[in-house]
């Protein structure tokens, strides 16, 4: 641990909370501007495993097929087969004798990550260009291609995080080692 931290902690307590223009050895500045959670609704893209942070809206795989073919297939193939190791979205079996192909279907522990990742990062050539509705539809399609949901199953803030992932029990948390 750094020794300065003790110094800063002591001085944080001593500071009166008034924003200072410059810091001194005695007082830590506090220049954070207050903001409300509501004002972060568009900014915060985190969709949590427990369902928090999922936006309103819904979609089915049947609706997602067209979007996938027009917006995703260029890099991921029409059926999610991909065009490189990094872009395979379908298949694999963690118990195969060979080195297993690890995809959304075979490897990912949480369905929430499918929505979260597509919303923040895909399509890679135009990230954040899908509406929330389209994101639900195309996420449903990726789950459908992996046989994890039915073609007409409605994916929304409640149902999508509940989708059972085959490798959900496959991970060992190492975060206690720091």
């Amino acid at each position: 641990m750094f020794t300065y931290k003790r110094l800063l902690k002591a001085s944080t307590l001593a500071a009166c909370g008034v924003a200072m223009l410059v810091s001194t050895a005695q007082e830590q500045v506090k220049l954070g501007q207050t903001i409300s959670e509501a004002s972060l609704a568009e900014f915060d893209l985190i969709a949590e495993p427990g369902g928090m942070g999922f936006p309103p809206g819904s979609g089915t795989a049947r609706q997602g097929r067209t979007i996938f073919e027009s917006r995703c297939a260029l890099c991921h193939g029409n059926n999610g087969e991909g065009n490189s190791a990094a872009t395979v979205l379908v298949g694999g079996n963690m118990q195969s004798t060979d080195s297993p192909l690890r995809t959304v279907g075979s490897y990912w522990p949480y369905a929430s990550t499918v929505f979260d990742f597509i919303r923040r990062a895909m399509p890679a050539n135009a990230p954040k260009s899908l509406t929330d509705e389209e994101t639900y539809q195309v996420a449903a399609y990726v789950l459908y291609l992996n046989g994890l949901v039915a073609e007409d199953e409605i994916m929304n803030a409640q149902s999508l995080p509940q989708v059972r992932m085959p490798n959900a029990e496959g991970f060992i948390d190492q975060s206690h080692i720091q």
């Binding site: 750094f2 300065y4 931290k5 800063l8 902690k9 944080t12 200072m20 223009l21 410059v22 810091s23 830590q28 500045v29 506090k30 220049l31 954070g32 501007q33 207050t34 903001i35 959670e37 972060l40 900014f43 915060d44 893209l45 985190i46 949590e48 495993p49 260029l74 890099c75 065009n83 490189s84 990094a86 872009t87 963690m94 118990q95 080195s99 297993p100 690890r102 959304v104 490897y107 990912w108 522990p109 949480y110 929430s112 990550t113 979260d116 990742f117 923040r120 990062a121 890679a124 050539n125 990230p127 954040k128 496959g170 991970f171 060992i172 948390d173 190492q174 975060s175 080692i177 720091q178």
Partner: protein, 430 residues
């Protein structure tokens, strides 16, 4: 043989510290055989072949004057090894530091390795905000200009991608270099605000255990970090080796988690959400997880292991004549400081202690060296580091025995450089 040549080249049995030519470090300190990289034995004093030194041309012509932003000598242009652009992975990829050409411990900013998932965002700091929210008493938003007014600390830390050296687990790559195999590690002085200061300003609630850190790039890359780390030594890095953090390193703000896998040090930091549980981002589930032979996968493997590497002589270099060489390299550990580096010239059968040439800072690169007498016989050069926690760098066999070959992250294994009778140095497995 003249008297002086005898004095220079004679090696007493006493001076041998390990088999196949490894010598006591006295030979580098006293015998004046050093010099960067592959030093050759010097001509014998008094017997230089007819040299007549003249004043060179550059000493007769005034050169160009000052410049706004300096650059390296045209005779010493070092480069990162970067991949080719891929339109199907826009802005994605990695570049590697030229480890075999660097000395000391600090990586120049232009040569620090990179890994981007969606390219480098063109951020105007005037429009960039850092938000801290979630399980806090008061959500806060910070302007870059305001962050510059906080007290800062400066620390020298290595940064290593957890995919570094992963290729060694597959085998192959006989023509690999220090750069191509291990160039996803760099070291810099990082200056910034302890994250704990801003978290305390927002007031972390008692039930909080994790933070989610999200970048402002086109991938909005996110990682979950345990709150304990965030309150311990995580930095909001604003400066790197004295200048504002480079765009490819996260300008204007980079989260920096000392000793931890590089991907957790989220670049272009714009959001910190304090939470109860990890968020399960793609880059901590689909990627950066280690699948074991029994098909279970380790998640949140944060500290980088103790590791070292000989950077000279290394892959694709050549030792051209018999003599004493300065074998040098770097070592680091995410668990503390480096205590010891040993070197072997016979593929790990016998080991000699190397000299540690630099400061031994916590979670920073150190530089080591050892003199080695090459007599033209084949050799396998290896280095093995021990850290302040007592961890010893494992062999490749030990890593594969423990974690198998499905996994390609977090490989700290000992590197073997083979030297053949022609003096060619290649990546080998022993």
């Amino acid at each position: 043989m003249t008297k002086s040549s005898k004095g220079q080249n004679k090696v007493l049995d006493l001076d041998r510290v390990a088999a196949n030519g490894l010598l006591s470090r006295r030979h580098l300190l006293s015998a004046a055989l050093g010099g960067a990289g592959l030093a050759m034995a010097r001509p014998v004093i008094g017997q230089e072949p007819g040299i007549k030194l003249e004043i060179p041309a550059w000493s007769k012509t005034p050169g160009p004057g000052t410049s706004p932003y300096g650059s390296s000598s045209a005779h010493a242009r070092l480069e990162r090894q970067s991949g080719f652009g891929n339109p199907l992975y826009p802005g994605g990829g990695a570049s590697r530091s030229p480890l075999q050409h660097l000395q000391g411990t600090i990586t120049p900013n232009s040569l620090h390795f990179e890994r981007h998932h969606a390219g480098i965002p063109a951020i105007d700091p005037a429009g960039h905000k850092l938000v801290i929210h979630g399980l806090v008493r008061q959500p806060l938003m910070f302007d870059y200009e305001d962050l510059l007014k906080y007290q800062m600390v400066s620390k020298i830390y290595f940064l290593e991608c957890s995919g570094n050296s992963g290729a060694l687990l597959y085998g192959g790559n006989p023509d690999g270099t220090a750069q191509s195999l291990h160039g996803l590690v760099s070291c810099a002085e990082w200056t910034g605000i302890p994250l704990s200061v801003l978290l305390e300003e927002a007031g972390v609630l008692p039930e909080a255990r994790w933070i989610a850190a999200v970048g402002g790039d086109a991938a909005s890359m996110g990682r979950s970090i345990p709150l304990d780390k965030a309150m311990d030594d995580s930095l909001l890095a604003l400066f790197q080796n004295g200048e504002p953090v480079r765009p490819e390193q996260g300008y204007p703000i980079r989260l920096f988690n000392p000793g931890w896998e590089g991907n957790t040090s989220v670049k272009w930091l714009t959001q910190i959400k304090v939470t109860r549980n990890p968020l399960q981002f793609r880059d901590e589930t689909s990627k950066y997880t280690d699948t074991l032979p029994d098909r279970s996968s380790l998640q949140f493997t944060f500290p980088m292991d103790v590791k070292s590497l000989i950077t000279s002589p290394s892959g694709q270099m050549r030792v051209t004549q018999g003599g004493i060489y300065r074998v040098t390299g770097i070592a680091w550990s995410g668990a503390g400081s480096i205590r010891r580096v040993e070197v072997s010239a016979d593929g790990g059968q016998t080991w000699g202690d190397a000299l540690i040439e630099s400061q031994q800072l916590d979670k920073a690169l150190i530089r080591f060296s050892i003199p080695w007498r090459w007599d033209g016989a084949p050799a396998v050069l290896q280095s093995r580091a021990t850290d302040s926690a007592g961890n010893v760098q494992p062999t490749r066999d030990a890593v594969i025995a423990a974690k198998g070959t499905i996994n390609r992250y977090h490989n700290p294994c000992i590197q073997s450089w083979g030297v053949n009778t022609a003096g060619e140095v290649t990546n080998v497995y022993v």
